[in-house]
């Protein structure tokens, strides 16, 4: 194409691509001239919120990222922690919110595809997936369609890949009516010495393009993820990215095989901002430069401009830096798997990206000034108006018959079983799933070792709305607790920070507070942040979502012999309550679901108490004393006890130290465990030694849950409760 046909570059063009006046001037200053159209496209993609983290970077530095187990913290495609026995775990969580709202099936599917590529670019084989989903009210427009599409999209992609989806979170809240959240998590394993970092090093080394051909898919995706939805969003729709899990599966196998050849210097997937961000990031990390010849890029359709090729977000594509002279080895591997492979450029020592098309240079940009030199903003932050009012304690109505109230709570999509979702996910493939979905944390065995790897993801957006700092701390604390319930030691966090528009000072404040809360909790509980993702601009028509700093956490179990169950296992086992209730109902499910009130301070987080509780649970699990353990979280003791009964359809006869209101209180740092009668004394003594309040509240047995709440008696058949709980979600979906 002739350069003359290119659109003119001026401030208006820059603004149309998402740059501010200041950023545009800065760009011209860096270049020492005006950029051309392609260069402007590249720079605005690199400086988009999604790629540059310009509004979050300054705050994210607060996270603790070091630790004895950490091999790679934030900065690469995914973080890496040591598991032992020469193995490492590689994991990350990422958002795909905007695409999933526009086209739920493809948006969610490609979200899974993207997070999987982040794992295998590091040289690790993905072995587990999780997903954290936030939908609006089930009756909101399009919501059932969104739920259906997102779940099918996640399932079809992960299932076809043969990576089990073993856990996640699903919630419904009106603050997500116009902007759902789809966060995908993947974890892989590798031998310690086979981890690869995405650094383009060694000038003269060829750059290879592998995988699907390039089309016009998702051009501007990164910019779209950096804007809010409004009425004319439909107009700006890019070509929807379609996931091709079959191609990704062979890409995975071929890449892992290619890595074994020793001929790969670096591997990077083309995610947001496609070839632009992948090539710039690789060269930036390697402190090198590169030359790309766009003629060589395999294309799906004719007539793509350099601008489009550089910004396309076609899926299932990789850039690979090969060792010079060993290209043929790699070419052979990829061709055997039937994949396209092309040499599209080479690494240079110039520190510049020189992009050529049909013999002409179409872009020539310095790399590090555009990556490391991207703008950094500390946006003005302001406590939300009306916060104090929101935090005022509301009156808590008496529930009447506790069993009836419990039934009503379990009869909601929020607290009902999520099995309708996870039965659509293959969670048993790879034959490592020791604990699939349905418990506190999922666990996979690591073949060839005695080790287990546990994982969970947690956050309560209502808590975060009422007090982002406490809410974020609670998310970390709950994740640690969930891991402890299976006896796992936490190794690291990958966070996925979903917020509204950061240019809104109230959102900026929520973000800052949340990051502080995560940092504080991670420090206290000794879990470093090793990777993560920020998703801003989650709002519609000016209405922000509730702040949702999702926390995914992975941990390790030294062996799997004594793995406790989530629910009661055998009659006559003694039920012990760990922790004490403080009657906290700010943002509780009881107040929200039964009384429509979302007010007060969220439950306080006592990090020391959480630490002791988790240590106790791990000790008891390792010791073999724990028959079952389940933490108390959303819905309080009532919901935790009901869930404990469901696993084997076993009832319990319990005298609890709470009144009917306290039955649903969400005070933290608590768990319900069951142990054999013989083990009780030892468990109580250990709890006392560690300063964890412990009380025997009754025994497992029978087919009903019998309650004595401070004198109020109530009883319900487990089967009756179970049938309500297990069908609540499909009924709400009108299936």
């Amino acid at each position: 194409m002739s350069r003359a046909a290119e659109p003119t570059v001026d401030l208006a063009a820059a603004e149309a691509q998402g740059l501010t006046q200041e950023e545009f001037e800065n760009l011209c200053h860096i270049l020492g001239r005006d950029p051309n159209h392609t260069e402007l496209g590249i720079a605005s993609a690199l400086w988009s919120e999604h790629c540059s983290y310009k509004s979050s970077k300054a705050y994210l530095r607060e996270f603790p990222t070091q630790g004895a187990h950490v091999l790679q913290g934030p900065g690469e495609n995914a973080g890496v922690v040591e598991l032992g026995h020469g193995w490492v775990a590689v994991f990350k969580m990422e958002s795909h919110n905007h695409p999933s709202y526009i086209e739920p099936y493809q948006g969610a599917a490609t979200g899974v595809g993207g997070i999987l590529r982040d794992i295998f670019t590091m040289g690790a084989r993905p072995i587990a997936l999780m997903n954290a989903l936030r939908f609006g009210s089930i009756d909101a427009p399009r919501m059932r369609h969104l739920v259906d599409g997102v779940v099918r999209g996640i399932g079809d992609y992960g299932n076809c890949m043969g990576v089990p989806t073993i856990g996640g979170e699903t919630d419904f809240h009106p603050s997500f009516n116009g902007n759902i959240l789809v966060n995908a998590f993947a974890l892989g394993v590798a031998r310690r010495d086979s981890i690869l970092r995405a650094r383009a090093s060694g000038p003269g080394n060829p750059i290879l393009y592998v995988g699907s051909r390039t089309g016009r898919d998702g051009i501007h995706g990164a910019t779209m993820a950096s804007e809010s939805f409004d009425a004319d969003s439909e107009e700006k729709l890019p070509t929807v990215q379609v996931g091709d899990p079959f191609t990704e599966k062979i890409l995975l196998e071929a890449c892992l095989q290619a890595l074994k050849s020793g001929a790969v210097v670096a591997l990077q997937d083309m995610g947001a901002a496609g070839l632009t961000s992948s090539s710039f990031e690789m060269a930036s990390r390697g402190r090198t430069g590169l030359v790309l010849n766009l003629d060589k890029v395999p294309r799906r359709e004719p007539g793509l401009t350099p601008w489009e090729i550089m910004l396309s977000e076609s899926q299932e594509r990789m850039v690979l830096v090969a060792q010079r002279g060993k290209e043929d080895v790699l070419r052979h591997v990829f061709e055997r798997w039937g994949l396209e492979v092309e040499t599209i450029g080479e690494v240079t020592a110039t520190g510049r990206a020189v992009i050529r098309d049909q013999g002409k240079v179409v872009a020539d940009l310095p790399i590090r000034p555009l990556t490391d030199g991207a703008p950094v903003y500390r946006r003005p932050a302001l406590e939300p108006a009306g916060l104090a009012e929101r935090q005022t304690k509301a009156k808590v109505p008496d529930p009447g018959d506790p069993a009836k109230a419990l039934t009503k709570m379990l009869d909601t999509p929020e607290l009902g079983s999520k099995s309708w979702i996870w039965q659509q996910y293959d969670h048993t493939v790879r034959t490592n799933t020791v604990r699939g979905p349905g418990g506190d944390a999922a666990v996979v065995a690591l073949k060839g070792t005695p080790l287990g790897i546990a994982m969970t993801c947690d956050v309560n957006p209502v808590y975060c709305y009422l007090d982002p700092r406490t809410g974020a701390m609670q998310a970390v604390a709950e994740a640690v607790r969930n891991l402890a319930c299976v006896g796992a030691e936490p190794l690291g966090v990958s966070d996925c920070l979903n917020f509204g528009n950061p240019e809104n000072p109230e959102v900026s404040w929520q973000f800052r507070e949340s990051v502080r809360g995560i940092s504080e909790a991670c420090r206290a509980l000794d879990v470093p942040v090793i990777s993560g993702n920020v998703s801003f601009y989650n709002e519609t028509e000016g209405e922000s979502i509730h702040p949702t700093p999702a926390i995914s956490m992975a941990g390790v179990l030294p062996d799997l012999t004594n793995l406790p169950a989530t629910g009661f296992v055998e009659a006559k086992d003694q039920v012990i309550l760990l922790g004490v209730d403080h009657g906290e109902h700010g943002g509780s499910a009881y107040m929200r679901l039964l009384h429509g009130v979302e007010q007060g301070l969220p439950p306080a987080v006592d990090l020391a108490a959480e630490g002791s509780l988790a240590a106790l649970l791990r000790y008891l699990a390792f010791d073999g004393a724990l028959r079952s353990a389940h933490d108390v979280s959303t819905g309080g003791l009532g919901v935790a006890l009901a869930e404990a009964c469901f696993e084997h359809g076993l009832g319990a006869d319990l005298k609890l130290p709470v009144d009917p209101v306290g039955f649903f209180s969400e005070t933290q740092a608590r768990a319900v465990i069951s142990v054999t009668p013989k083990a009780v004394d030892g468990v109580l003594a250990e709890a006392e030694r560690r300063g964890v309040p412990a009380l025997v509240v009754g025994a497992v047995g029978g087919d009903s849950l019998k309650l004595n709440l401070d004198g109020t008696k109530s009883k319900i058949q487990v089967a009756e409760l179970h049938s309500v709980w297990s069908t609540a979600l499909p009924r709400a979906l009108e299936l």
Binding site: V240, V242, D244, R300
Partner: protein, 84 residues
């Protein structure tokens, strides 16, 4: 009134199914194929006997449920008055 609705991915949208079928055909020796696109087909029998009404109903069905306008296009063909 019987009608057939045919739904295809928009031309610019990736069609992994079409790609896979094309490759499979080539693999088993059908090398005379230039391209394959895969779509869905719905044979719908309507109560109405009025063609304009049928068209209107079918268009509404496509817009509302059958097709995903973000990435698909549809065609409607009336097959015959009687349920043939």
């Amino acid at each position: 009134m019987k009608a057939r609705v045919t739904i295809y991915p928009r031309p610019e949208v990736l069609d992994p199914q079409g790609k896979a079928v094309h490759q499979a055909l080539t693999r088993v020796g059908f090398d005379g194929v230039n391209s394959v696109r895969v779509g869905k087909s719905f044979d719908i029998e309507l109560k109405t006997r009025s063609q304009p009404l049928a068209m209107k109903q079918l268009e509404a069905m496509c817009d509302k449920l059958l097709a995903n306008r973000v990435m698909e296009v549809y065609e409607i063909e009336i097959l015959g008055k009687a349920g043939k």
